[in-house]
Symmetry: C2
Subunit: 323 residues, 2 copies
Amino acid sequence: MGLPRRHTLIGSAAIAAAAALPAAAQAPAPAPAPAQAPGYYRFRVGGWLVTMVHDGFFRRPLEGFVRNAPLAEVQALMAEHFQPTDHIQVPFTVTFAQRGEVLAVFDAGNGVTPAGATAGRMIANMAAAGIDPARVTHVIHSHFHGDHINGLLNAEGGAAFPNAQVLVPAPEWAWWTDEGNQSRTPEGQRPTFANVARRFAPYQGRVTPFTPGAEVIAGIASLPAHGHTPGHTVLRLHDGAEQLLFLGDLTNRPEAMMRRPEWQIIFDFDGDAAAATRRRILEMAASERVRVSGYHFPFPANGFVAREGNGFRFVPAEWSSVV
Amino acid sequence: MGLPRRHTLIGSAAIAAAAALPAAAQAPAPAPAPAQAPGYYRFRVGGWLVTMVHDGFFRRPLEGFVRNAPLAEVQALMAEHFQPTDHIQVPFTVTFAQRGEVLAVFDAGNGVTPAGATAGRMIANMAAAGIDPARVTHVIHSHFHGDHINGLLNAEGGAAFPNAQVLVPAPEWAWWTDEGNQSRTPEGQRPTFANVARRFAPYQGRVTPFTPGAEVIAGIASLPAHGHTPGHTVLRLHDGAEQLLFLGDLTNRPEAMMRRPEWQIIFDFDGDAAAATRRRILEMAASERVRVSGYHFPFPANGFVAREGNGFRFVPAEWSSVV
């Protein structure tokens, strides 16, 4: 159409001039292409420039996701947050931190995915953000689940970050590089042993374990946070009083796991330990009002933890056009 | 640096190979430019393609912003949402809706602003989103405050949307085009009379008032929502069961005005009416669980209204890489 039809308008006679057709009515415009905005977002933490890079999402049935709560209870909480109740959409967002000559990335994304996959957007979004994988100096891992390490490989099976040191939590490395732990690992997680061997292979001689609790590199500390996996680790980017806690998989979607930190999910290695760790670190984040990012938080995955009821709530930080 | 120093690492002796300098350590990478991602976001409402376009923000002191609550109470609520307590940052996000040959925009942004201004990003963000102002077929106004109409003019003072019909709430048009209403208008809002004359001047013969409550054009309805201004109007984009309520300035920042719908702000024309209208329409939005956008919501200003306590809470919708 291009012009409102007379009968749909109830106009003030003094002003309306529906006869004056605008040029657009004669030459209808082609529709703009429905491309989504690139999935990155920047902010500063002291002297660090942080770039959150979206890696898409995956979906799985909501049923079976939480192991220790009835489905109806999980559905009710998701509905309260206007989330779907038949499936859960799990987003991926990767945290990059740059200062001086250091360009660190916390976890490596899903990497190369089949055509049509909803995950695996990180490479394109890094390009949009002007981040060249060859310039990454450090890949620092929270843990070794596939969605966090698969992106170590490029399409040719080589190192996606050809010039990076890879820094890994020592207990995580120790567990998944020892096949003797297979029998003590939940069956669903056993493919991780082979996947770890494959994904780290091109980085031989460049993988350095660190002890959770240690300063990993100057300005990036670590906190032990095991449970979700044997060596799951939280990272703390800091510069003076400014800091950002990268929570990794301390929670999956915060709408569920911050509100109900005692919930254990299908991907937890040790559900009881995961829940205890979750509450301990969320308590700290809420008390200190510290900025947090999380791998499965809604993009741009940048915000704060507030107390609510017997649990917590994720409060997204302001989106600002100014970095 | 580029490589973690030995003394900052507590490595497993079996793996660490700190002597193997990665290439990046020899040739430090230049820092990526700290450009922010373009401020637009797309989603669908039935057959409508919606693009939210950010227009930056402005700041004013928090003191004096809410007229009928003590500053300390306002500060406490803002702090609860991890917002500043010395000033309020008011973002601007403009809603575009496109279907077939119609490309409508709800309000017109701040337009051309002085160099260095934090508002006035819409033109650049429209370009990033591939939206040509010449292709806009309809500018539909919620009300006539400057941040909503100034963008009607381009840098030369001509029509920024050269081919658009301009559709305006009849009571808003009637009020601000009659200088006889000056004395019945709060002093701070009196410059609006001259500004309306100036901003609509290039659109002579293309301005069409509509009665709030009417279908404005096919698929875009309106709801009377006066109080914030004499003719403030909410717009309802719809296609079958799918809909989006564009709330305009029904609330300013939702962290304040959804939680405390009875609060009246310095920009309200009739604070009592604004508060009553606010509660009525938020009740409807919460009951119907309808998607909403708002001019001063945090970008991308797309979400839902949930009940909380004696008020409401804004729940941002999922950010999705898939449109």
